[in-house]
Symmetry: D2
Subunit: 326 residues, 4 copies
Amino acid sequence: MIDTDGTGRHMFSSEQKSAIEAARAGWAQTRRLVVPAMEDVLYAPIPVLETGFIRAVDYMGGDSGIVQGARVSYGKGTRSTSDDRGLIRYLMRHRHTSPFELAVLKLHVRAPIFVTRQWFRHRTASINEYSARYSVLEKEFYFPRPEDIAAQSTNNKQGRADALPPEQARQVLDILRDDASRCYDHYLDLLNEDENGERRDPGRPAIARELARMNLPVNIMTQFYWQINLWNLLHFLRLRADSHAQYEIRAYADAILQIVQKWAPLTYEAFTDYMRDAVLLSGPALKVLRAAMGGQPVDPAQAGLSKREIRELAELFPEIAPNLAR
Amino acid sequence: MIDTDGTGRHMFSSEQKSAIEAARAGWAQTRRLVVPAMEDVLYAPIPVLETGFIRAVDYMGGDSGIVQGARVSYGKGTRSTSDDRGLIRYLMRHRHTSPFELAVLKLHVRAPIFVTRQWFRHRTASINEYSARYSVLEKEFYFPRPEDIAAQSTNNKQGRADALPPEQARQVLDILRDDASRCYDHYLDLLNEDENGERRDPGRPAIARELARMNLPVNIMTQFYWQINLWNLLHFLRLRADSHAQYEIRAYADAILQIVQKWAPLTYEAFTDYMRDAVLLSGPALKVLRAAMGGQPVDPAQAGLSKREIRELAELFPEIAPNLAR
Amino acid sequence: MIDTDGTGRHMFSSEQKSAIEAARAGWAQTRRLVVPAMEDVLYAPIPVLETGFIRAVDYMGGDSGIVQGARVSYGKGTRSTSDDRGLIRYLMRHRHTSPFELAVLKLHVRAPIFVTRQWFRHRTASINEYSARYSVLEKEFYFPRPEDIAAQSTNNKQGRADALPPEQARQVLDILRDDASRCYDHYLDLLNEDENGERRDPGRPAIARELARMNLPVNIMTQFYWQINLWNLLHFLRLRADSHAQYEIRAYADAILQIVQKWAPLTYEAFTDYMRDAVLLSGPALKVLRAAMGGQPVDPAQAGLSKREIRELAELFPEIAPNLAR
Amino acid sequence: MIDTDGTGRHMFSSEQKSAIEAARAGWAQTRRLVVPAMEDVLYAPIPVLETGFIRAVDYMGGDSGIVQGARVSYGKGTRSTSDDRGLIRYLMRHRHTSPFELAVLKLHVRAPIFVTRQWFRHRTASINEYSARYSVLEKEFYFPRPEDIAAQSTNNKQGRADALPPEQARQVLDILRDDASRCYDHYLDLLNEDENGERRDPGRPAIARELARMNLPVNIMTQFYWQINLWNLLHFLRLRADSHAQYEIRAYADAILQIVQKWAPLTYEAFTDYMRDAVLLSGPALKVLRAAMGGQPVDPAQAGLSKREIRELAELFPEIAPNLAR
Ligand SMILES: Cc1cc2nc3c(=O)[nH]c(=O)nc-3n(C[C@H](O)[C@H](O)[C@H](O)COP(=O)(O)OP(=O)(O)OC[C@H]3O[C@@H](n4cnc5c(N)ncnc54)[C@H](O)[C@@H]3O)c2cc1C
Ligand SMILES: Cc1cc2nc3c(=O)[nH]c(=O)nc-3n(C[C@H](O)[C@H](O)[C@H](O)COP(=O)(O)OP(=O)(O)OC[C@H]3O[C@@H](n4cnc5c(N)ncnc54)[C@H](O)[C@@H]3O)c2cc1C
Ligand SMILES: Cc1cc2nc3c(=O)[nH]c(=O)nc-3n(C[C@H](O)[C@H](O)[C@H](O)COP(=O)(O)OP(=O)(O)OC[C@H]3O[C@@H](n4cnc5c(N)ncnc54)[C@H](O)[C@@H]3O)c2cc1C
Ligand SMILES: Cc1cc2nc3c(=O)[nH]c(=O)nc-3n(C[C@H](O)[C@H](O)[C@H](O)COP(=O)(O)OP(=O)(O)OC[C@H]3O[C@@H](n4cnc5c(N)ncnc54)[C@H](O)[C@@H]3O)c2cc1C
Ligand SMILES: O=c1[nH]c(=O)n([C@H]2C[C@H](O)[C@@H](COP(=O)(O)O)O2)cc1Br
Ligand SMILES: O=c1[nH]c(=O)n([C@H]2C[C@H](O)[C@@H](COP(=O)(O)O)O2)cc1Br
Ligand SMILES: O=c1[nH]c(=O)n([C@H]2C[C@H](O)[C@@H](COP(=O)(O)O)O2)cc1Br
Ligand SMILES: O=c1[nH]c(=O)n([C@H]2C[C@H](O)[C@@H](COP(=O)(O)O)O2)cc1Br
């Protein structure tokens, strides 16, 4: 059951698997708010990318804690009038974000270094990461699936275009694998260690770990504990479960979304409606839209919209696209 | 049992008491880390000052969660070598603060506004406070006990000196009570409400709550939910459970310390030794101290110590005080 | 010229005025980015409410610093292609907020305590406030203008309705003034000081300032230095220069907007278009809108919109209001 | 003059050098606080490690701004009594940190990725970094000087021991250089670009930059703008200009210290005395020390000191070391 990946990959040592199973088996009594759907998934890793995972290792609060916190500011007034769902949607809609801060999630994550570099730019979280000064990094790298190896997008400087033909993708992978493997071997060489952590050559010094690791490429896997409150998590998800984010971090964001849906379903729904699927219409865009709706189209460029904005507005509202095209 | 104050004061309405009792009675199963000593006190208010309280309403993690988080950064290495207590003390000593951030506490607090103004200056927390725009503030004020009414300190601009003679203290209290009472009455007057929230005079408008409240003195009580991680909580406690802090906020900090002791006893002990009872010796003070110990006293003023620093050093080390005095 | 209020009110002592004039007269050479329009207003107070003010006392960066910071992440690529205005608008539109964090503003503010309680909830700023533990608060209160004294709104729990008739407004003001005056007199009494800071009665102790001040109402004026980066300032302004914010803090936010306009005009314009005048359409609202535009209206309630959301959508797009009403 | 490195290395293109020179030549008038010693160094790069640098690109405030901010909280009281130096030392000693937050520094930094991973863990700063999604990383790596290539420390898991013999160091460098070079070549290969950014093979797709870069080792250089207030900078420096920090980040911290010394000399001095050279004596250590001084030594282990703490105490106070050894 814990082996949620079912891919036959050995993401965890049997020792680690036992530890997870033991943790999952350990039930205790609490007076705190409990979210049964979260208890179901607690500690169990969700595989992400080929060799990564996330797993929820603790949580605090949830939808009802948010509601309880929000109500303190409203005093007696609200108690009866609005139901939980309504209140949560109201809070989200009006960006009353402080009640969402009252819920907290703790994850254990394994991800490639280039992904963590993007991840850790979110400063409103607490992190404990595996240290390559202190310990030896394991020989685990991220290599994209062939179908994820794509060409540089030409119109989006930060994006990808189509996937490569399989043959070329394989060549790319060969390069990545070769280099990773060679660099890692040299890493062990510098550490003067074999794969089991035994000293190779007793006559040679072991280079300091913090130095030796500088040879490792950024697709090597690292792991960390990550704790963040729900509001800042939603902010993270808005940016990272988004088409502008790099595919690899998006894969993690999507997995986290699954957890949020279990943990705080009402908040998840409100997030979907008011943040994820929501669209921000700029002041000028609003004017152009209304004019077009009223049948008196204005020149969107003159109204201040850039070409890209006009195109996006037309995509959003195909109904009025002809009016915008002029 | 919930009536932990035992003072006969009616801090909670019977409705609220029932709600607290119900919350305390509600046990559920969890796979999360549980701290039994915290479960004991959960939801139960601890009285602070005369009309205030704090109560723990949720927590996440504790000593063992800290240790678990810290160990991720050390990889396999540490697991056996150091016990939990040793590791926590090591982390505290070396200001490896990120593992302490993994534990989170949520409190419900009632306190006077002038105390919250100091409290909320700590920005690394999440707050939801009762709103006087939205609801009517209750007629609850903080009045010091007579023995806490003290004169202005003459050598410490931010502090108090001796308590006033009882008679004078009573006069002070009379003034405070009178003004609070009159202001509150006028507040209700402006709101056009009686004490039960019923409209007084149907022919008169009710002034907007957000305006009417501007008449209320800063010793009126407010309430809020407060969530903070353990590291930032310790930082708060170091500043607020300290002789430089105003007595009234110190009373809250002291009550929170009791909770921390139950929640994370090893961290509490390490905090006591390495933060609370610890002393920071400046570079120059260290030199002066060592010289004095070596029997070759230097002139502390020449070494760069201010008069106050010399005095403090002498108080800290009466053994060498004579050497410093010169 | 510094007397920008021109109201004849004596917001500053002549000593303070000289200090401001001296500061304004002190020009020096710098290699840093300079925004001449900001230099014009530097140090000069802008009156807010009756007895408050804000004044810019320092700034760092501005539009061109933002652009410069943004370009580091784009490498060579952008330098030519996009002009400053286009880039700033692009950053704002895509919530690339980190470049806006590179500009920093420092204000000196005088405001009533109940306003600062809202203000200081914005945690992403640095504050130094006048201390009533350390110093005696001056006899300066905020009293609304008669036309700002309004009734409680009945449909908006946090808002105001119409202004009171002049006569009733005057009565309200009388109450506010009386109570403020009496409380302040008692404050001095407790401090055993007269208005010039001289001890009144040598035979009586002076109550500690930190205690005596608890008698003061929340409309007393305080002052503080406030430093915040431009991104967080825009976030503050979005929330506080908004119709949901209390009128009194909105007055400050509006004054700050004037400063931002001088300091970073391109950012100000982008803020106006993409944050202030922008409208967030939720996923469901978008669907309903498009359906209505396409002539195939759906039942908005069934689509998930609350009554209030339907009303707001209809107000936003009167063109399709009839389609929504059903 | 700008070529402050004088090493003949070509850290900047001639184009960049001109830009820096132009920036340095551009003087303007300002009413803001100016620190002449900072103007001297503004924009000029200080070389760090072999291929890195830092340069101050903007600043706000300084010692006198701190003092000015601190004084607002003290009201009239302080103005005369304490001089700037005394006040700054007082603030530092009592951890009145908010005035130090009023000064802000902006740096432009080039550093290896493994250093930035440590750097960016400091969350209280604003960052804009070169993006490898958007632009192609240059062929610039960090390779330690031979004398900095050291063996793993055996008693300090996170540290280094002695430098390697030159011959072995050279071998290490060969490995690092080879791998870096091969990985970078493959990177260009994947990008289908030559070193001038020209497409190599028109018949082949260019892999997306965000994918191709995963092949690059963590000693490749990146660059970023970094803005932080002075308090958090001192906190950074305490942790990073410290013997526990990795040598490579320490090199940057040391360079920043030079800048701080120019920018805010009084704060720098106070930092040195009260943070950098200061020593934290734990409660138990204080007891042991006093007992030893009084000639009545207690068993330090029994007093609660760990072996390491006893050793450190003895090193700190050789005078009483014999008393501790028992
Ligand atoms: C010698 C050394 C060894 C280290 N070893 C490891 C390791 O093995 N593994 C590892 O993961 N890290 C390690 N670190 C990194 C360390 O854990 C910190 O992340 C880093 O030093 C930044 O310190 P900071 O959190 O005090 O700084 P900042 O992030 O600048 O924070 C300063 C203060 O601001 C507040 N704060 C900032 N952000 C938040 C927030 N989001 N929520 C609440 N409060 C906040 C806190 O009060 C904090 O103390 C090490 C650091 C050093 C110097
Ligand atoms: C109309 C209105 C009504 C309000 N009603 C109430 C009320 O009834 N009761 C009440 O208590 N408050 C109320 N507030 C205050 C509100 O809850 C916020 O505290 C305030 O608006 C500041 O907003 P902020 O948190 O977004 O700003 P900031 O504190 O500046 O935070 C900005 C962002 O920084 C991050 N951040 C900052 N500090 C932290 C931290 N310590 N940990 C993690 N992330 C952090 C978060 O991502 C946050 O979104 C109201 C505000 C408004 C405008
Ligand atoms: C005895 C005493 C006297 C005081 N006197 C005065 C006074 O006269 N006037 C006055 O105004 N205040 C005064 N204060 C309040 C004091 O200045 C602090 O605001 C308060 O103690 C909170 O401390 P903090 O900033 O360390 O805590 P937090 O706000 O919790 O911050 C902790 C750490 O987090 C980081 N951090 C948090 N938020 C930010 C941010 N937005 N940007 C960057 N880093 C951040 C910083 O590293 C900070 O050190 C006093 C406090 C005490 C205890
Ligand atoms: C598609 C995309 C492209 C990007 N491109 C680049 C790039 O080219 N270069 C680059 O460097 N980065 C880039 N980033 C990273 C980006 O600049 C942010 O650093 C990252 O998205 C984190 O966002 P945040 O700052 O909103 O989150 P958080 O750090 O979690 O902050 C949330 C909010 O908290 C407050 N806050 C947190 N910390 C502080 C603080 N220390 N002081 C004041 N307020 C604070 C602010 O209000 C902030 O808005 C990119 C991100 C995305 C998603
Ligand atoms: O989508 C992005 N997300 C992100 O966080 N960065 C940050 C992460 C890192 O600090 C720096 C460069 O990252 P990339 O090389 O992954 O772009 O900018 C950049 C981009 Br683009
Ligand atoms: O001990 C203190 N603690 C504190 O937080 N302040 C802050 C709180 C408030 O923002 C401002 C003035 O508070 P007092 O009037 O309580 O000093 O400074 C001041 C002092 Br002194
Ligand atoms: O518009 C608001 N803005 C705000 O910051 N608060 C915060 C400030 C304070 O911490 C608490 C109660 O403030 P009011 O009494 O002003 O609502 O909530 C509340 C409201 Br409503
Ligand atoms: O001295 C350190 N400084 C630091 O910031 N880390 C952080 C940086 C990164 O997020 C993670 C692992 O870094 P190293 O591999 O450099 O230890 O811990 C770790 C150590 Br040890």
